[in-house]
Symmetry: C2
Subunit: 348 residues, 2 copies
């Protein structure tokens, strides 16, 4: 049953025509160049042999692989799958495929993975791993691949990106807590090497300042990473340093879940003793105890936009031949999801 691989040349031999004729028939774009009757014969024979054009060979010839590499820091973090889904959906529509790989957070490993993808002739790269000052971005730029970052951006504006509007997100979160009556809000700060961590911290400060809160009443506590464990440690530390805090605004949902762990350890109830707000609205945070109030980010839409950006860039390259250096940043608007982890502050 196993079919031997049929090639253009093989088909041409069987049909007694030239390979270029068969080739033209196989491509719908050029099919009209061939006589109707010949085209039909070719098509029938191709179908009979289950002919499948070798896209690698075509890619070699045209110098276009129609593959876009996607680099993730951690595929098991639930925020990334929806992004990937969005990217794939959009790329597929345009005849591209995504080569998704998990590169971890380690720059060495990331560089290795990037080099792998470049050697495989990807047309473009979408990085979900970008740091604010990222040697990998430099590396990609030097290699001359089309590049877009998603979810995170770098500081130097060298590359287009699709990100969440972090200021807007933090404003929603802060104003929600303020409206409930909280005046002592700790921000568990995410990694400052990442745009998300950095901008959310600024967003927190901006939002509080806009409501007349003084600098010294902005309570920050740094977390080493976006993990549940770092959130637990951060929460414990913050509680010790700021015992009057009535609310915790976590840098992301994973940190928020770590807060749940810490509060439980300290025998504190959420939200009665301490309100907690997350960030991302990742899957299943509506099911934890208590269901988490958080900021919803359109991850799928983010992926779609990133793919569109890449596609546009690729088309521009093809047309003008030039890089067309207009970088842009697309910011998606987040949304507040009020659930049960926030309430009015405890009496003190």
């Amino acid at each position: 049953m196993q079919q031997k691989k049929m090639t253009l040349k093989g088909l041409a031999a069987i049909l007694g025509v030239h390979t270029s004729t068969v080739g033209r028939v196989m491509d719908p774009e050029t099919r009209h160049m061939v006589g109707e009757e010949v085209a039909q014969r070719v098509l029938k024979e191709a179908a009979r042999h289950g002919y499948r054009p070798n896209k690698m060979a075509a890619a070699l010839r045209t110098r276009r692989s129609n593959i876009v590499g996607v680099i993730l820091p951690d595929i098991t973090n639930p925020v990334f799958p929806p992004i990937v889904l969005g990217i794939e959906d959009e790329l597929r529509k345009h005849g591209y495929v995504a080569l998704v790989t998990n590169a971890g957070e380690d720059p060495e490993q990331q560089r290795f993975v990037v080099d792998q993808l470049l050697a495989r002739q990807v047309d473009a790269l979408i990085l979900a791993t970008a740091t604010r000052d990222d040697p990998i971005v430099t590396h990609c730029l030097e290699a001359g691949v089309a590049l877009v970052t998603v979810n995170r951006s770098e500081d130097r504006g060298r590359v287009s990106s699709v990100v969440n509007d972090e200021y807007a997100g933090m404003r929603l979160a802060v104003e929600h807590l303020l409206a409930l009556g909280h005046r002592h809000i700790v921000h568990l700060v995410g990694p400052q090497t990442l745009s998300t961590g950095h901008l959310r911290r600024e967003g927190y400060e901006l939002a509080l300042a806009a409501h007349g809160v003084a600098r010294e009443d902005m309570w920050l506590f740094d977390c080493s990473a976006y993990t549940r464990e770092a959130g637990r440690a951060g929460c414990l530390g913050a509680l010790a340093r700021y015992p009057q805090a009535t609310a915790i605004l976590a840098g992301n949902d994973l940190l928020a879940l770590g807060c749940y762990d810490a509060l439980r350890e300290r025998g504190l109830r959420c939200p009665e003793d301490v309100s907690v707000v997350g960030h991302n609205d990742m899957p299943f945070v509506d099911m934890v105890n208590p269901p988490l109030t958080t900021i919803r980010i359109g991850h799928h839409a983010m992926g779609v936009q990133a793919a569109q950006l890449v596609l546009r860039r690729l088309r521009a390259e093809g047309a003008e031949g030039g890089a067309g250096d207009g970088q842009m940043e697309i910011r998606l608007k987040p949304e507040l999801m009020v659930r049960n982890s926030t309430t009015v502050p405890r009496k003190t």
Copy 2:
């Protein structure tokens, strides 16, 4: 800064040697065939130009792409990322990359995705989408790619697979409930088109039978899909049909989470009124309310094993030239995770 792409031929021209010489130097395997002094000159020049061999061209020539395609039914289902991680880790060690794509549950779409990957000359395919009687498997077999299924298997034994030992998992779950004193255990049955759904149902029956439970006391309720919503509907239906049930054994964690929704709607407490057991121990089910008792499956290990199976197959092909048709099934042992969703049955 952007480097123009350097090729073997380009380097050879600069160095005044033949391309084949440069080629031999670039491959560590054949480097020894070249004079030490020449080799050094080549290496230096290659480094200077940031030469990166074009693996697509090599693949075309050797008819080996060193790419393994991975087909997922739903990347947002948290059980799959760890599997993917395991596959990638293992493949990378051996110079392969995984081309991961989400194909959904629709066979049409799956076939499209498979064809895409075949056209891209993947050396092998790992299917996480397999159904018990799967036309896609037939399709792949006919195309002659090396094939392995992971997490799910097909019934006809045509393809090697790495799966969980479903009987063992259900036995652990059933005996845990029995030990707590439950005598009225409903099984929320997953899709019977999937090996997991089918084997878990059999496992439930086998385990109960082994403890002398009569056929008519085995209470089954079918769920249409492995989703939270289907679990909710299933739980509601099961509660109506079997009001004396004191425990629910869900076909997987998503169904179990749906049970939580349903129980809450009915004003029933878990575990006091009804115990719930899941299956998979997917991320974050330890954080839901109440933390879910479930069966832990080694998803990462499953991915590693699947990759190894593929790699072994690929090596065999290269060596013997023959298919070497020994199919096998690797079954991983699951583990019971007791948390707070199970307790002794309510008094009736």
